[in-house]
Amino acid sequence: MLALLHTILLHRSTGKFHYKKEGTYSIGTVGTLDIDCDFIDFTFVRVSSEELDRVIRKAVSEFKDALSNSGSDGMGQISLEFYQKKKSRWPFSDECIPWEVWSIKVNVVNLANEQERQICREKVGEKLGEKVINVVEVINRHEYLPKMPTQSEVDNVFDTSLKDVQPYLYKITYQITDSLGTSVSTTMRRLIKDTLAL
């Protein structure tokens, strides 16, 4: 999980912007860190920023707790959404317009014994590798990126709360469905919410 999210964020982060007076800016640098996964034989690269790491870890552990609370054979989906804020006039609050959404679907699998676990681990490792390649492929299509903002607008595009790196504005959400397929209720809920929001 962390591997994929970090890979995506790595690509979508840039160095911290420093604005100078004349309307130009200089960009700081992004350092990288190799991280080995604990249970899977896989290594990924992430941005070397502790704060960003903390934020991501928190989100992922919440997702993990929700998944484990939901029952043994749960399915879940975690989404990483990059959005842009658009200031609207009063009385409406700022709108968040996503321009890229990554969804990762996760299935919880119960394994009976150590051998199965080992096999699963290897498979997951390979899969992760493939997914990283997929992510990279998509990103390299260069389809859309918000244009570089001026100083006043930087908060609408980038997340400037972190000290050392500046990723695009992002949001992590997740939803859990358990195997009974109560997604019907969630769909209904979503429909109602959407109509109200309009």
């Binding site: 690269v45 492929e137 390299n140």
Partner: protein, 517 residues
């Protein structure tokens, strides 16, 4: 084509491509060094942080890359390739991957050089960072060192993929369109590692069970013919270990530090590595892992091992039949915490006997020496020297002291079972074990086990009888029913009386309770 591009843009573009190529090579080589890369983010950029990424520049790599480029840039028909290969310590080599930076004719005229191209190249570098960890060669390179090393080679011109075997796979890292062409970065990697696996099997056997020393420097030779490629395990510039492969050195190390699979003859090498072994043994005295392979190698009976482990004493498991090991044990004995006795005396005599032991013992046959071992189970080894006896050192497991030696008849602890009762049951059990072990001539198998609580002079019986007899003890008097019912009635009758007494003396009781608190 070029006329559409302003000179400034053209210059910038060339610069970007050149540095991109250099940085690409750095990333690839660093990813194959076998270490985890860690760089810091900084909010204030320095001049060398191209593409907003903190990628360190290894000077040797830059030098090689510049040499290969020879002033040219990757262009149409001129690709820059980095070839990663593996070389075993036996001299076999195999190509693992080829990374290609190519340019084709598809131009993207509308793109802004200084901004969009730059950012896209930056994204491409990040992708490269991610992909280099995903290919199979990454895992191989993380494990390099003892058996094999990873080498790289940079060349310019046509891409050569023939060395990758059949069925190789290609991964495209990304493309960036520029006004003069499209830059493509891809990797072709070998999937058929069959050659590798055979070699690994051959190599893995001798080092099985070894504590792998990760801090051995991998070979880093600067004198290498260029067609062989450069080693990827680059450390600081001043550490150039020329010459021998770590593999060869390690095999030496392997022999000497290995207890597991080495045949007895190799054990003689132990004496040459004194400190290491002392260290090794003292740290891991109680560790079953260390000793059990050794034990298996010599075929020692496990019961002896257990006894040794209880007290943590040295003596039993480390007891070697060979001279060289004898000296090892002897050295180790002073380190035992349980030897409360005459340590100085012991160590001195041990030293004195070390050479003696080594020379005088003839450990020809493992079986023979096994019997010698069991007879003299325990400390101070082979030679029937009268100076040191375990008993005189007041060791708790003195029972293991050599017996059957004439000089020790007067030693009470060493006597056969008719001795006065031993202070602790544990000791008695070991004592009896040892005695039994020694009672037999050349056969250590027979065990006439005596239970801990049965002493010879009091109740001469064997375990089975003892057990049976004491399995059904008579009931306790206070627990038998007919008595209990009577006592119950009595109790009830006497209750009111007792209560009266207590109430009278209530003050006393309160004072008592306060005192307790």
């Amino acid at each position: 084509m070029d006329s559409d591009l302003s000179p400034q843009d053209k210059k910038d573009l060339d610069k970007f491509i050149k540095f991109f190529a250099l940085k690409t090579v750095q990333v690839i080589v660093q990813a194959r060094l076998g270490e985890k890369i860690c760089t810091r983010s900084s909010s204030s950029p320095t001049g060398s942080d191209w593409f907003n990424l903190a990628i360190k520049d290894i000077p040797e790599v830059t030098h090689e890359a510049k040499k290969a480029l020879a002033g040219q840039l990757p262009g149409i028909g001129r690709s820059m390739c980095v070839e990663i290969s593996l070389k075993t310590s036996e001299g076999d080599s195999m190509e693992l991957e080829t990374w290609c930076l190519e340019m084709n004719e598809k131009c993207d005229k509308d793109i802004k050089v200084s901004y969009t191209v730059y950012n896209r190249l930056s994204v491409l570098l990040k992708s490269l960072l991610a992909i280099t960890r995903v290919t199979p060669a990454y895992k191989l390179s993380r494990k390099q060192g003892h058996d094999y090393v990873i080498l790289y080679r940079i060349y310019f011109g046509e891409v050569q993929l023939s060395g990758l075997g059949e069925g190789f796979q290609t991964v495209r890292v990304g493309v960036v369109g520029t006004p003069v062409g499209t830059v493509t970065l891809s990797c072709a990697y070998r999937t058929n590692l069959a050659f590798m696996s055979n070699r690994q099997f051959e190599r893995s056997a001798p080092i099985m069970g070894i504590i792998v020393d990760h801090f051995v420097d991998p070979p880093c030779s600067s004198q290498r013919p260029t067609h062989m490629g450069q080693p990827c395990n680059y450390r600081a510039p001043d550490e150039e270990d020329g010459g021998t492969f770590a593999g060869v050195q390690d095999s030496q190390e392997v022999c000497t530090t290995s207890f597991s699979t080495s045949p007895p003859s190799q054990v003689f090498n132990l004496s040459s590595k004194n400190d290491k072994h002392q260290q090794f043994l003292t740290v891991s005295t109680l560790d079953d892992l260390e000793f059990s392979p050794f034990v298996y190698a010599l075929g020692l009976p496990l019961q002896v091992l257990h006894a040794g482990k209880e007290g943590g004493v040295v003596l039993v498991p480390a007891q070697p039949p060979h001279g060289a090991d004898a000296h090892l044990t002897v050295e180790h004995a002073p380190n035992t915490p349980s030897s409360s006795g005459d340590d100085d005396g012991l160590s001195q005599s041990a030293e004195g006997r070390r050479d003696e032991g080594r020379r005088s013992v003839s450990p020809s046959d493992p079986v023979e020496s096994l019997s010698a071992f069991t007879r003299k189970v325990g400390a101070f080894v082979n030679k029937p020297s009268t100076q040191i006896t375990a008993a005189s050192l007041d060791l708790p497991f003195a029972a293991f002291a050599p017996r059957g030696l004439d000089s020790e008849e007067n030693d009470p602890m060493v006597q056969p079972p008719d001795s006065p009762p031993c202070p602790s049951p544990l000791q008695a059990s070991l004592h009896s074990q040892g005695s039994e072990g020694s009672g037999q001539q050349d056969d250590f198998v027979m065990v006439d086990f005596r239970p801990a609580f049965s002493k010879d002079d009091l109740l001469p019986m064997d375990l089975g009888t003892f057990y049976r007899e004491f399995q059904n003890p008579p009931q306790l008097a206070s627990l038998s029913l007919h008595i209990s019912s009577q006592s119950m009635a009595d109790d009830l009758d006497s209750l009111p009386e007792k209560l009266r007494v207590y109430e009278k003396n209530i003050d006393e009781f309160d004072a008592f309770v306060d005192m307790l608190q």
